[in-house]
Amino acid sequence: MRRAALHALLSHWRRRPFQLLTLVLGLATATALWSGVQAINAEARDSYDRAASALGPAPRATITTPDRTPMDMAQFIALRRAGWLVSPVVEGTIATQGGPLRIIGIDPFTLPLADLPSGAGDDALTASFIGDTGPLIVAPETAARLAGAVLPPLIARQGVAPSLAYADLPVAQALLEMTGRISRLVVLDRQPLRRPALSDVAPGLVLNAPEDGTDMAGLTDSFHLNLTAFGLLSFAVGLFIVRGTIGLAFEQRRPVFRTLRALGLPARSLLALLLGELLVLALLSGALGIALGYLVASALIPDVAATLRGLYGASVEGTLSIRPIWWASGLAIAVLGTGLAAISSLWQVARLPLLAPAQPRAWARASESALAWQGGAAVFLALLSAATLTFGSGLIAAFVMLGALLIAAALALPLVLYAVMALGARLARAPLVQWFWADTRQQLPGLSLALMALLLALAANIGVGTMVSSFRLTFTGWLDQRLASELYVTAETDAQARALQTFLTGKTEAVLPIWHIDATLAGQPGEIYGVADHLTYRDNWPLIARTPDLWDRLARGEGVLVNEQLARRAGLWPGANVALRDWNPPVLGVYSDYGNPLGQVLVGIDSLVARYPEVERLQFGLRVAPGQIDGLRDALIADFGLPADRIVDQTSIKAFSLGVFERTFTVSRALNVLTLSVAGFAILTSLLTLAAMRLPQLAPVWALGVARRRLARLELLRALVLAGLTFVCAVPVGLLLAWVLLAVINVEAFGWRLPLFLFPRDWLWLGLLSLLAAGAAALFPAVRIARMPPARLLQVFAHER
């Protein structure tokens, strides 16, 4: 019996292979986007973990200067000679031809080698590792990326964090131009019996408790949450398809269910069979989805890696490793999603009365109560969203708000459409037009899921598109302000820098020092920049908050400027004071600093030199008349002897910055396009499925004298009207989404707020695109109607239904 029942149930898919394809593809796409995003996140997190445990799996206490500026090697020796078991570490990032590389210089004599990743601590550490000519130990993928770069010899070892190189202390010091200096001292376990207090040995240094090293994870959390949200959105859109398909398949099999039940198949067995069928489908589609997800993730991860590097300085290699955990989680989410999509259909089957009419009811009018329920849910979610916006804070709240908003909009869509149809029907005078509105309205329940998916995809598209374009507009304007100097030069040594200043006298309009030092600002790594008192800054600097006489006071050393990130994070707006090394200056203004993960403080150049005498004085911005740029560059190279790679012009920096920016949003855009295609696919499948069942509706209209060709045109028009209305609804939702992204999520994620700009031309394109998608989807069923033999239509009356 069960076997026969199973056979009967499965025969449905044999007769409707396209429906099967829809189900499988819908589920696979949903799983693919979800698991692809998860794979990217997992890869990045693994990289952070490896980077965080670059020096030991368990964090150790460190000794540093109070603001973590470099210290002298002599302080290490003084501590060792006093009985403090400490190991020196010099750390920094250098630019190479193969991209940035984080260098960790270690002292293999004093650092327990168990602190290094197992690969690095092994045979790679030989006598040849030690000394000025020693190699760099890097991960194999990093070695591949750095091939051809001018660096010490590379030794590739598994287990080393990406974009990180271990080197012997003197090698690292030379690479980082920190000869004789170290970044910090690691305090080792098992200190000896007696040692003097730290303040007696090294009065200028402080002991820091072990830090988790999860800075990077914290810093990039927002980015990954962003990705996760996108994955979830795509998954939700995919689930709409699955829900629609499963619902249809169940509706269409109602006669089979009834017959099977009438033949004596217990309801429990029927349910079990259906559940088994869904499980197998979910697993197959899930597996397919994970494979697709791997492709998606592989395609996207180079951009993600570039973004994380450019935006946060986090090191993630642009390759993906296969992890069992996301196979498992991908399959789980596929099964879970299928279950979620099927639960109402299964519930109906379980409660199916034996003698209920066995008609497919795809076009049944939705009941008033169901609509009311849906409207209630939409209102509730909208209120929840508003409440979260008002009372919530943080990134999670922002995403909860966003999710509630989107679902509310999706749930409200059918109601809006019903209202429009009702209005249309009331305004219509001609009978055919009246029928058109009424019939469209009747079709809504079958199409609403696909339309909701389309709404979500369109809204996301408008929202993200608006955010990216607004950002780009702001960013390019900001770049113009910020990069006012025509040339930027970096000397190799202090002596060369002084010679350079002399050389440039009279050759430029101004030589503006751009000197900076790394420091701890509000408890996090940051940088302090010195600026000269010059019109370049007064005219151009992009301030978003200011106090009177700001530039004069800055030049006199009476205060500092902070960047927006730091201002927002630590509440350092004008009126507040910043805690710096033995200095507590007031904040004079706040400037926007897009694309910088670090907090930044701007001080007058004299204050910087006075308070941080150790600052490197190597970098300068040169103001030159536009016609003299090339000449000055040539003179710097030929006459002064500055290597060409130490001179950068404004245009290249802008190009580079825009490159980083574009990569940042490549992922968003790619996911966006995928989501939209999924939604388009949903419309297509829904229309195709419905078309087959619409004959009984069309036949009477045909019999009343409406030509097939005209009927077909009306079918096409119907799809276009629905898609167009959905698009109109999507615009405000998308703008709301853009606003949330710019004003709430960006502030939380990156620390800056951006103005919202509108781009109606983009919407026009998107609207045309969605009409085109709906039109294309409706075209095939319409053509079928136009060419349908009249006999088929007559059969509708012959078959007593």
Binding site: R80, R81, P112, L113, A114, A124, L125, A127, F129, P192
Partner: protein, 366 residues
């Protein structure tokens, strides 16, 4: 109490607090450290048994003091090695070791191409405390200066004084410390032929002298508190570029203080055959008499299981030319040094034709 401490020491050892981390081995071997670790040689390591071009080679001749108390970076390896037999006020016997090793990473004698390694140990009848330090040359973290005043140091450990005859000796670990004053009561003694100590039949050799006549007083710090001690100490100074013959797998070395005031230094270099022996009889006035291969006999009488090795802890030592026939017994059989290159080193008591006490060192028991 005792058992607990022993267990904790063992646990520490197992956890790797002292134990040479396997991953260190690549570095340690490459550093060319100073012991005849047989297994290392068997693995084909171009180590101490191999002649390497570029290093200075030892030659017979007179010492140049005080310069020779300092480092000889042109040679591959060198050490300042002190062992002390001490007695507390209650008569308890203690042993103390303080060693600084220098090993050149590359030929050329560059100061920053030197690796320094310090070992310190404190042995009581039932406990054995060990600490180890490593440092890079040329930074000031470790080094030796023989001119003007004498100073050898690594981190806060030091052997320093106005000359090598009067030095303070300081070292500590997480659970022990000592501060000792050493004053020479006799002359420096050249080992081998006027300080040229032959190590194998094929001619491997080192420059080697000793100060076996230190009188000692000072304080040991044990977990339960300070202990005032007095006793005697022995300094060995040795440097070479090629110490081992390829088939030599390790050595057993003794420094014995006889109650008569005479001293005996002796060693066996173990190889596939009967081994290579050498000894120096030091009269109470410091006059040395060297004895070549075969004159000294050392016979293991009893072995002890320590650190998963069977190590001889009771020996019969015979030097017929001086009518010496004694049995030396480890004061603490567990005096194992679980350092990067592990070995056994501890105080012994002497019974037989002569009475006294001394130190025993055994390497290459893998």
């Amino acid at each position: 109490m005792n058992g607990k401490r022993q267990r904790s020491l063992r646990r520490r050892t197992l956890r790797g607090g002292y134990l040479p981390d396997q991953r260190w081995r690549g570095l340690v071997l490459a550093l060319g450290l100073v012991f005849w670790a047989g297994g290392v040689l068997a693995q084909g390591f171009a180590g101490l048994g191999a002649r390497e071009d570029g290093y200075a080679q030892v030659a017979p001749g007179a010492f140049d003091f005080p310069a020779d108390h300092g480092a000889h970076p042109g040679f591959r390896i060198e050490w300042w090695y002190i062992t002390a037999n001490l007695t507390g006020e209650d008569g308890t016997e203690y042993g103390v070791q303080w060693t600084l090793f220098r090993s050149a990473l590359r030929p050329g004698g560059m100061v920053d191409q030197q690796a320094w390694m310090g070992h310190a140990a404190l042995t009581t009848p039932d406990r054995h405390f060990v600490a180890e330090r490593l440092g890079r040359g040329g930074t000031g973290q470790a080094g030796v200066s023989g001119e003007e005043v004498f100073s050898a140091w690594i981190d806060e450990w030091a052997m320093a004084g106005r000359d090598i005859g009067t030095v303070d000796l300081v070292a500590q670990g997480p659970d022990f410390a000592y501060e000792l004053r050493l004053a020479a009561e006799g002359p420096l003694v050249a080992q081998g032929k006027a300080g040229f100590s032959v190590k194998s039949a094929s001619g491997q050799a080192s420059r080697y002298y000793s100060q076996p006549f230190y009188g000692v007083d000072g304080v040991l710090t044990l977990p339960e508190g300070p202990v005032a001690v007095t006793g005697q100490a022995w300094l060995d100074r040795e440097w070479s570029s090629q110490l081992l013959d390829a088939d030599q797998s390790g050595w057993d070395w003794v420094s014995l203080h006889f109650d008569s005031g005479a001293k005996l230094m002796g060693f066996v270099l173990r190889d596939g055959g009967g081994g290579f022996t050498s000894a120096t009889w030091i009269a109470p006035d410091g006059t040395p008499t060297p004895y070549g291969d075969g004159d000294l006999t050392m016979t293991p009488l009893e072995r002890h299981r320590v650190a998963e090795r069977d190590v001889p802890v009771v020996w019969r030592v015979e030097l017929p030319a001086r009518a010496v026939d004694v049995t030396i017994t480890a004061m603490n059989r567990d005096a194992w040094m679980p350092t990067l290159v592990p070995y056994w080193e501890g105080p012994v008591t002497i019974k037989g034709s002569h009475q006294g006490r001394g130190y025993l060192e055994m390497t290459g028991y893998d």
